[in-house]
Amino acid sequence: MRRIFHRLILRPLKEEPLRTALTVLAVALGVAVVLAIDLAGDAAAGSFRSSMETMTGDADLEVTAVGGVPETVVARIATLPHAIRIRARLEDYATLAATNDTVPLIGIDMVANALENIENAPADEALREGDTLWASEGLKLRAGDTVNVQVQDAVRSVRIGGVFPQQGRVLVADILLAQKLLRREGKVDRILIWTPEDRPLEQWESLIAGVLPDGSTVAPQGARTRENQRMLQAFRWNLRVLSYIALVVGAFLIYNTISVSVVRRRPEIGILRALGAARGAILAGFLLEAAVFGFAGGLLGVLLGRVMAEGAVRLVGATVESLYVSSQPAPVQLTPGSIGIAILIGVTVSLLSALSPAREAASVRPVEAMARGRVDYLARVRFGRGLLAAAILATLAALASQAAPVAGKPLGGYAAAVLLIAAAALAIPALVAAANFLLTPLLRRLGGVEPMLAMRSLAASMRRTSVLVAALTTATAMMVSVGIMVGSFRQTVLIWMDGQLQADLYLRPAGSASADRFPTLAPDLAERLALLPEIRLVDRFRAYPISYNGMPATLAGGETAKVSQDGRPTLLAGDRREVIRRLPTCDCVIVSEPFANKHNVRVGDRITLSFGSFEVLGIYYDYASERGYIIMDRATMLKYLPDPASSNLALWVRPGVDLDSAQRAVERAARGSNVAVFPNQSLRREAIKIFDRTFAITYALEAVAVVVAVMGIAGALLALVIDRRHEFGLLRFLGASTGQVRRVILSEAALLGLFSTGAGTILGVALSWILVFVINKQSFGWTIQFHWPAAALLGGLAVVYVATLLSGLYPAQIAARLNPIEVVHEE
């Protein structure tokens, strides 16, 4: 067996090191992408937990409230006649002015911590004096440093009192200082509670709930982390699925490599069978070849994946930050477990891909071994059956796409996508056969003998051609479908912004933005700006991160009456006039589409927040955040959450006033606050920049899948040159120049590119429909209008096509260099 494996498998692989290397690299890239996305997801999704959970210790319960828990609650719980221990915290963000890094700012009771020595917390009582912060080691600051930090919209100089041993990037302040900096005097964000073990946690929970005022809630500690993780599930799930595409493309190429091996070694297999080799030995030999590819690819994939994870974590982190929650990428952790899984993925995918050709090898009868051409010929005449199977799979895909989500996951959509890819793969032989029939005369007339020979050769090697086209088609289709989805989304957002962003200027605290950070402006700023002669109208908007039904969401208040004349917002459900009339006066809200879909809320429903119950008057289109918004009128909000500070302001300039001079006037009036003022157009540009950054990871994944496919084409063309070398030699005998031989190979590459980009475009459009209307809708709840990003698509397709052509250059050079005398006479 070992000798069979060596002679039949290993030796041929060694004889074609480049092709072997390309196949291993294809598997490696597929594995690497999956690993990188997994590692990056862990790092990006895990980081918000690690930073906000700094010094929480191992508490049992936590008390929270929208807008903060009144400080009096701390005393109320502390005076309960039970041996419970409590710690109050403030949790927000500060921006280091020197680096513009936004890091968690945590306010804790330094004295209490010092007394109880919790989690290496800073214990310097002197901290209570002056503006002194403690920095984690990860911030690379030194005790005694003076740094400028921005908290809310104010920048101030603070002293670093010391550095505490934590790798994350966190600033810690005494709670009194934190309250002052955050303008939350009399409030804390969280009260952590440690309970004795003499009764169940649920009993403690209800006992504490009994002493809480309206608006405050108690829950097991870590609920927020779990909520965030739940919220990120759909995002991570979709990203993971997207990362499998490169692996699927790699699987096609393994299938092709093993198929080529089988076809090429058919005579040897026949001889071995004639000499008594069992079918099982042949099967095992080829499966072992696949396992070697899988193992080598898996190993290399681990190394590549680790490197790629560094880039991916930045991209994934940016998306998490924009759409979900503040995130600081944690270090990428490559564990023995993830290494093992990566190698296992490589070997499993390779074995599964190789199963069919290996079984075919095992079924070779000794007498059949000599008839090489017959196998391909049989494959060619069966395309009708493939077409029928493709039609059945496409019908099943259409049915699957109608299925409801399962546990919030669009499993029907994924099944539809897989079925469509399989249908395309089965239809490709018919496509190539049809192209051969229809295009050959045309190619001969327009391009001469070379493309005609190329077309005939592709049609004759139908199985090989079909697999290659299927691989590149899958990669191209992914590019097209994601391109259309992102392009449609982008266009939808642009149109939405036209309706949504009606003000002339927008103002918010300076610093980087995130979906769950809402720093506030000085409360009197809006009034000061409203007095400016350049300004006609000021709309104050306040947002709070909240938890609704165990999921993070955003509660916000705006001034309905002021902005109603500008047509905001565009409603998906509900009567606009009714919304404008009732929203300012009743306990009513409107909710964003992602919120409505996530929580199955309809117009007329009531939603219950910790401080009251509200009727849903409408559902509006919103693409700002996937967390989901609940919007109420500012007056209603102030009734329950009386903090008048705004998170941002929208300003309308008086008619006839120059926008630049209005902006300068606003900036002058806001002097003393560190705010960012955006004219309407630049806010839109900024929003689109964030949008593009959000989807950068998908482009990166597409690129890898296309690279894998093109590498496969290069490898396959190399194999083709080797297999058909006597044909190229013969062409030289019949009068072909080296250039003509080269052109035959390049024509094959061009035709493979043509079929793949053609089929990929058709499949891609079908997949984009599933992405836009099924997977996206069920995962994220956004309605996306279908648009054709024609220029981007044509650009992408051109890149794929040119890359395919270029992949033929080296094989073409090899073919042109063949010695015709040697290759023709070697038979």
């Binding site: 003998v449 005939r456 004759a460 030289r732 019949l734 009068g735 120049s737 080296t738 015709p820």
Partner: protein, 233 residues
């Protein structure tokens, strides 16, 4: 078989091929191997010449040099007025296109092309017009009419060799080089192929055939015996 007068080649009777003291030395694992050793010969249009000798005596090397597939290490090969060693790769290609047709022992047909498509390849490579009808006409002349659209695996060995001969002649070369053309055929079919080649020579084309078989040389004008890279007689 009918041969029309329009096929009669203008070079009939004139020298087409001349070997002047030609040697060919190959390097095998660094050691020189003399494949042809100071060979001289003249061959004219209309001649049917047999090259005989054991395997490795230099027959194939001589055919390759004659067919402008290779150039000599020493000496001069004149082919249709050109000195092959003075030509670059594209010059040799042009010379092959215009002057040489090849027939092989194992037919060497493109398996994915039909009979007529195989035959028209030389015309298409040289950019010649009307390739399909000329190829069909040439096939008809080797008694393959009606089988134009068959793929090689649908033809018998004799039929495949006829297609190969039609292909070698389709561009009206001055010389046809046949390397063991009957080696894969039974004796009856082999005889038919030899008669075909004889007919081609009668049209004014120089036909040079390498063979092991003495019976195949019955219709030849001349038999050149080779041994160890030299012409014996």
């Amino acid at each position: 078989m009918q041969h029309s007068t329009e096929d009669a080649h203008p070079s009939n009777g004139l020298p087409i091929l001349r070997f002047d003291n030609v040697s060919k030395i190959y390097q095998t694992d660094g050691d020189p191997v003399v494949a042809l050793n100071r060979v001289s010969l003249d061959a004219s249009g209309g001649e049917f010449i047999a090259l005989m000798g054991r395997s490795g005596c230099g027959k194939s090397t001589l055919l390759n040099l004659a067919g402008a597939m290779d150039v000599p290490t020493d000496g001069t090969v004149f082919l249709d007025g050109s000195v092959t060693s003075q030509l670059d790769d594209s010059g040799l290609t042009s010379l092959r296109r215009s002057s040489v047709g090849f027939v092989f022992q194992s037919f060497q047909l493109f398996q994915n092309l039909s009979a007529v498509e195989n035959v028209e390849i030389p015309l298409l490579l040289s950019g010649g017009g009307d390739a399909r009808s000329r190829a069909a006409a040439r096939l008809a002349r080797v008694e393959m009419a009606g089988l134009e659209d068959r793929l090689p695996h649908q033809l018998s060995g004799g039929q495949m060799q006829r297609v190969a001969i039609a292909r070698a002649l389709v561009h009206s070369p001055k010389m046809v080089l046949a390397d063991e053309p009957t080696g894969n055929l039974d004796s009856t079919t082999g005889d038919i192929v030899i008669q075909l080649l004889r007919g081609i020579a009668s049209e004014g084309v120089l036909v040079m055939m390498a063979t092991h078989s003495l019976e195949s040389t019955g219709l030849c004008d001349r038999v050149i015996r080779m041994r160890d890279g030299r012409i014996e007689s």
